[in-house]
């Protein structure tokens, strides 16, 4: 019964994320700005936000300054999107918790449980960002990610509640999974910010389209937000890989065996190391860094979905019968 309510919560959240996404899409589409306000924007880049850094204004969209006043309709749509996301997040987290209750263990035993947990962390992070730092402008891409992710989870990845296979009985496994889910959430938000950065910087180059894009913070701020998430995720991912290696040492007697999963994790790690490195030292800020971040995210997803489903290895614990 608990398992049934868990699934119900997950499916409900997937549907609600879709509705929230539609709201945010309508919000984006409803923005119209006049010619004058557009030119004003381009003359006054949001330097205040850039320099003020960690203060609230850094994270917030720059519309309080130069962008045109919000229309009522747009604001209502955005608020509704956020409100629906809150409800969806509630049923989503409930789904994860009940899944754990139904299984009588932490709900990280297979791919379905892992995706839903990681996405729950992502949505909670987003809600904190939206509430504390006024980052509701992440709404459309985040709800898009959540809709796709939860949608895939409840349709493709779903497996019934079952006990863990013996190889997964390990504290290191638990540590490994928590770290992976958390860094996965941060990689995803950082990657979304990188995509928004590319769109926004292109928009700025063209002199501002005046649409919803002008509601976003300046490209520079988005770039830095992306960096912060990835810089948070990277050490955690390193730890994830290390904890996985320790677990492998316990389970299989070797900490590294070039298993497809291990290899792709290393490749992902290397891409993000390249990202941080290039940024920190070679000065590849902006466009090129954003592209590397997006490649890193693609590699993360491929490692997760592609390797689990396409290539067989010791990590074939998706529990999905092929």
């Amino acid at each position: 019964m608990t398992a049934y309510y868990s699934s119900l919560g997950m499916v409900t959240s997937a549907v609600l994320y879709l509705v929230a996404m539609a709201m945010h899409a309508a919000e984006w589409a409803s923005v119209r700005t006049s010619r004058t306000s557009r030119t004003r924007r381009t003359k006054e880049p949001a330097t205040v936000a850039v320099v003020a850094g960690g203060t609230r204004s850094d994270w917030e969209s720059s519309d309080s300054e130069a962008a045109p006043a919000r229309t009522r309709r747009e604001d209502v749509l955005g608020r509704m999107g956020l409100a629906i996301t809150v409800i969806a997040a509630f049923t989503h987290v409930l789904g994860v918790v009940l899944r754990g209750v139904a299984a009588g263990r932490a709900p990280w035993g297979n791919m379905y449980e892992f995706v839903t947990t990681s996405l729950a962390i992502a949505v909670l992070t987003y809600l904190v960002l939206a509430w504390k730092f006024g980052m509701r402008w992440l709404g459309l891409p985040v709800t898009l990610l959540l809709t796709i992710g939860q949608g895939l989870a409840v349709t493709v990845f779903y497996v019934d509640v079952a006990e863990l296979m013996p190889a997964l009985h390990s504290v290191w496994f638990v540590i490994h999974i928590i770290a992976a889910a958390t860094s996965g959430a941060a990689f995803n938000i950082g990657g979304i910010a990188a995509i928004l950065y590319l769109i926004r910087s292109r928009d700025e180059e063209l002199g501002g389209s005046g649409g919803y894009l002008s509601r976003l913070p300046s490209a520079e701020v988005i770039d830095r937000i992306s960096y912060r998430f990835l810089a948070f995720a990277f050490p955690l991912w390193t730890f994830t890989v290390a904890a996985g290696a320790i677990w492998a040492q316990y389970a299989w007697g070797r900490f590294w065996g070039w298993d497809p999963k291990e290899t792709m994790s290393l490749v992902t790690w290397i891409i993000y190391a390249g990202y941080l490195h290039a940024r920190a030292t070679v000065g590849w800020k902006g466009r090129r860094a954003a592209i590397v971040a997006i490649v890193g995210l693609a590699s993360f997803w491929f490692n997760f979905v592609g390797i689990n489903l396409l290539v067989s290895g010791l990590h074939s614990y998706s529990g999905i019968q092929r």
Binding site: V51, A251, T263, G274, A280
Partner: protein
Amino acid sequence: MSVARELVSWLRFAWATLSSMRTALILLLVLGIAAIPGSLLPQRPTNPIGVSDYLAANPVWAPWLDRLGFFDVFGSVWFAAIYLLLFISLIGCILPRTATYLKALRDLPSAPPGSLDRLPGHTAGTAVGTPAAVLDAAEAHLRARRYRVRREADSVSAERGYLRETGNLVFHICLVLTLIGLAWGSLFSFKGTAIIVEGQAFSNTLTQYDEFGAGAAFAPSQLSPFTLKLDDFEVKFETGPVQQGAARDFTAHVTVTDADGATTRQVLEVNGPLSVGSNNVHLLGHGYAPVVTVRDGSGQVAFSGPVVFLPQDANFRSEGVIKAPDARPERLAFEGIFLPTASSSGSGGMVSVFPDALNPQLLVNVWAGPPKAETGAPENVYALDKTGLTQLTKGGGDPLRAGLEVGTTYQLPDGRGSLSFDGWKRWTKLQISTSPGGWLVLVSVMLAVLGMAVSLTIRPRRLFVRVHPETTTTRLSVAGLDRVEGRGGLTDEVAALVAACGLEATLAATDDEEEQ
């Protein structure tokens, strides 16, 4: 000689190029790209069957991939070349950076640049008090905020965040140590597997291994003596409707006798390896060994005991060969299939429907032939060499097939003897290995994570104050500089410093506040 000089200058150029950050970065990305085929193509060391399947399926280009080492990427020369170059490059960049860092640790922060008004957050104003008093106040404020301060006659410069570089160097050095640990491990370690039936024992000598592999620097004489007896092996499978038959629990009870002769009873589980001296013992797999007795035509017992059968599917349909070379007048052999939970399939054959032994059955074909001269050549225990043997057939010429349940005996036709299926035992496949250097890898990876976390969270900042005496007040100029991006709050911190200096009036606030 000019040749020698040219060589030196060439070497110097090569070293400078190799140890540059850009080269390291490129090598790193190349390493990442090179690892991808290793995760997508089947690899010989982990999946030899996959490789031969792949070769058969792609006869045109797979042999080329094979020649280029794509089926053993991580053992290939080019992969080794990339990581060796990266390793050298890494050392090449760490050494000079460490030297610079040690020097910077002893030095005071650098003096302020000529003019502060181009720096971020620049603020100018006037303050009450003498220049010395203003600088004292600034210095006290900065020291309280744990800046390292350099005081000059007309200026104060301060710096914070030295730990960033510390963390960064720790990270890079630990990366090198990790690689050293890995290399050490692969040179001096060994790994082998052995199959042990319940009630039997394994002793740690080369001949007892089924598979054995060791690093280049490992000698078999280094195997430490111990014996391990498998007393009992328990398994549990999922009986519920979800994932029915999936493995749930494996526990092996073993008795270990170490090099000193001390005997202990221990428990070995999938995630609970044993350590015996420097050896790790892991539980890798399990299966069934039917216990049989073969009697020959003269009524003598020609073979008796458990025979290891290898599992073929998830429900442990297992195959094996029972050999009785000493049977007389004819030697006998049986090709067998063991079904732990036998059930007839729709098409008339027999299958196993559950991995646990709920309804065990043994199906055999029978082979017989004249006795063979003992050659001493090693024989594969899992395959039957059929030279000199003929298969017994039923009347119609079909191969003779017998199905036995536990406790039954099958009489071979024409008084050739009999086969009794006395019972079954479980066997476990154990892996015995050492991982020298493992602790080094572990410690350095953990330190690397720590160092990286430090270097990513600490963002060094410099602040400058310069004063110009005026008649009753002091004119001051304050600015800051962040050495890395991603840190906010510079203007706030400059403002706090300005306030601490006793600012009376702001002069011209700059509008040029872009980050550098």
